[in-house]
Point group: C2
Chain length 429, copies 2
């Protein structure tokens, strides 16, 4: 019987696994240095939990299953609902602010496309308990800290930032009703992807009043936050939201990441649950899907049956990121191969047992080591040492009768004869 | 709406996540130093793939789901079928021997019990392409290398070893037919868990011939490999298998792990697919379930539609292991908390921007750092630094007017005034 992997999933052969580890370890390292603690939840949760934040449409995108008792479960398509559940469960005992990150494996039953798979990893960073634009700046800094750490520059990637609070207050200033807001968000969210003509056509269908429509168009064509702030139509609430966003950019400047960040009124984020700052990260040429995105979501914990606690965060997936890093030649599979500290070769079969003994001792001292299971010629073993990317090769030959080893530096090719006991003593240090 | 986690799954709060990372990172480290490369597969596969190795009974223990096209999938209950599929797919291009490890998340729809959850992690180590007891010794050494590395001794754990090849050949020498073998394996596998009386009763039902039965009983009561080897009833094939097992113990002695290993004829392993050496790892007091187990399975790749290639390996789960490590006080949650390299405090609100600036710079230099989002008294910030387990606290006070910082060592309490530029220059090294 021959079997295949399910479409949209990935097999991680060692060279693929090295890439996955390189990306996830980088996420973890940067999260920790930014003061975040790691958490994770189960791979599956009760299905209805995923409908709270994302509505009923999400059900179609879920891999669902049923437990023994007939309860409906689903593989998690995102970690935020789990985060909300976990935080709510222990809300009174958790020190605030809660600065948590996770690198969960997630699942979506979508048609696989470039940068979009059915099974993927996503870096999630959240701050819970701080209703201050400083926390939004912290999560944006953390995202940029990673991107910059791996070697991406402001010429490669851009964080496009706006404010949902600002947008809603300006739209209300224009006279858009609460009822009209939701479908308008969906349309504005697509604005950067639609030709101007199509966008205006769809806008015409949603907003019948030509004056309101012109005002929306003028708003969406604004190039700078300054230009928007000077619009006389703005309510006080809208003005406050504009100056909050301006403050965010000031903090990002203080943090030294302003060159990565830009204001873009077209960033809306589809989901209804965002309440403040919103942002998306793109490759500078906009050739790829969004690398990641996030924003403030002050109502989510309450919606999950918890107290009224503010929160902000982001998610960055591994698929689009890996494509970009490969395009930029930052991520190169061939450089990620496992190296071996020592390869232990034996010049004569009678020394094989010694090779086993020495290999075990080297490993026990914390270094990686391997040897040939077959009894083969020394030349063949040295070739094997090379192909295994061994940094050093120990050769057990006639010198061992004098309690000595040959240590060959595989980079320089230099050989050194060294007392066996001295070698193992050095190793332990 | 309030939600709960699904029964048998785990929420990993930061302190639980620290434990999980500690265990999995330990597995990874020891695997790499023993010359193994990491791989992984998808969380779900086609359901029928899991029936090849474990039969139809496994289906009841699976979480199954259906994809859009109506195909039956299942969450993986083990990684070996995926390993077989992946190796078979690239068999001709993979250098041999294949030494791979994985730390997959696995799923079983069983009733949760102590040490047995519906969702768990399992360390898997396999060598493919070597039909030599040396490879069996290598995987056993790797398991012991980990157990010893974390601090367990031969007084804490034991690897009980036998040979399926030996058992089958001895049983055949006794006159047990091929047909009687499978049900007998199942019974012998339970022998260590059953009272002698019950065991003999069940044996009576399976083996009608009293002479054969006595021979089986004598075999199963053997204390040493030597005793078995001297039994005159043994066929040549049985004698070969005995000396192979003796050779294994010699190699384990050479490797320096003999004190962890013991011969136990009662180790059979339930699954039909083992073909040679088999072993299980237990706590010395046998208070817990098996910590792990494995053995040689030379037919699996062929059964999965691939070529006839030998293989050996083991699996160790995280649940029983964690219980043992906690009992032995080796694993202590309280010692695994995240430490912070620097906490940046500000003595006056007017220095808050500087705190943001300095924190960002410290993180960028690769050290972990955090600061207070709130503007609070210095004493409160120092308390926060303490509770965050900061190693050092930077205090921005009036000294900053002279471009100087106060650096407080949180262990000793000592304070030092240092030039700001000098501090950041040192940090970058």
């Amino acid at each position: 019987m021959k079997f295949q992997a399910v479409k949209g999933t990935r097999d991680f052969y060692p060279s693929d696994m090295a890439v996955r580890n390189w990306i996830l370890d980088g996420w973890k390292k940067v999260s920790v240095r930014n003061g975040f603690e790691e958490y994770d939840g189960p791979i599956f949760e009760y299905l209805k939990m995923f409908q709270v934040k994302s509505g009923d449409e999400i059900v179609e995108q879920l891999f669902s299953l049923t437990d023994r008792a007939g309860r409906k479960l689903a593989l998690r398509p995102e970690i935020t609902p789990t985060l909300a559940r976990m935080v709510n469960q222990k809300i009174s005992s958790l020190p605030k602010p809660i600065k948590w990150f996770s690198v969960p494996r997630l699942f979506r039953a979508e048609r696989p496309q470039k940068g979009r798979l059915r099974e993927f990893f996503q870096w999630n960073v959240d701050i819970i308990g701080v209703d201050d634009v400083l926390a939004d700046a912290e999560v944006i800094f953390t995202a940029v800290d990673y991107l910059r750490d791996v070697g991406l520059t402001a010429d490669d990637v851009v964080v496009k930032i706006s404010s949902r609070k600002m947008l809603s207050n300006i739209l209300k200033s224009i006279g858009i009703t609460e009822k009209e807001l939701e479908p308008l968000y969906s349309l504005l969210d697509k604005r950067n992807k639609l030709p101007q003509e199509n966008f205006e056509q769809l806008l015409n269908q949603q907003i019948k009043d030509p004056e309101k429509r012109d005002n929306v168009l003028e708003l969406m064509n604004a190039d700078s936050l300054n230009q928007i702030g000077q619009n006389p139509i703005l309510s006080d609430a809208a003005k406050d939201a504009v100056s909050e966003l301006a403050q965010l950019f000031e903090i990002l400047d203080t943090m030294g990441v302003k060159d990565f960040c830009t204001f873009d009124i077209g960033i809306v984020r589809g989901l209804a649950y965002y309440t403040g700052i919103v942002f998306e990260i793109y490759d500078k040429d906009s050739q790829l899907r969004a690398i990641g995105g996030g924003g403030r979501y002050n109502n989510l914990l309450k919606d999950f049956g918890g107290p009224d606690i503010p929160a902000t965060g982001f998610g960055i997936g591994d698929c689009v990121l890996a494509i970009l890093l490969e395009e930029k030649r930052i991520l190169r599979k061939e450089t990620l191969d496992n190296e071996l500290d020592y390869y232990v070769a034996f010049a004569n079969d009678k020394y094989k047992r010694l090779a086993i003994d020495f290999t075990s001792k080297i490993r026990r001292a914390g270094k990686s080591a391997d040897f040939s299971y077959k009894s083969g010629k020394l030349g063949k073993q040295l070739k094997e040492a090379s192909s295994r990317k061994a940094k050093n090769c120990i050769i057990i030959g006639s010198e061992i009768e004098n309690e000595q080893l040959v240590v060959k530096d595989m980079d320089t090719g230099e050989q050194e004869i060294i007392d066996k006991d001295k070698f193992f003593k050095q190793l332990k240090k």
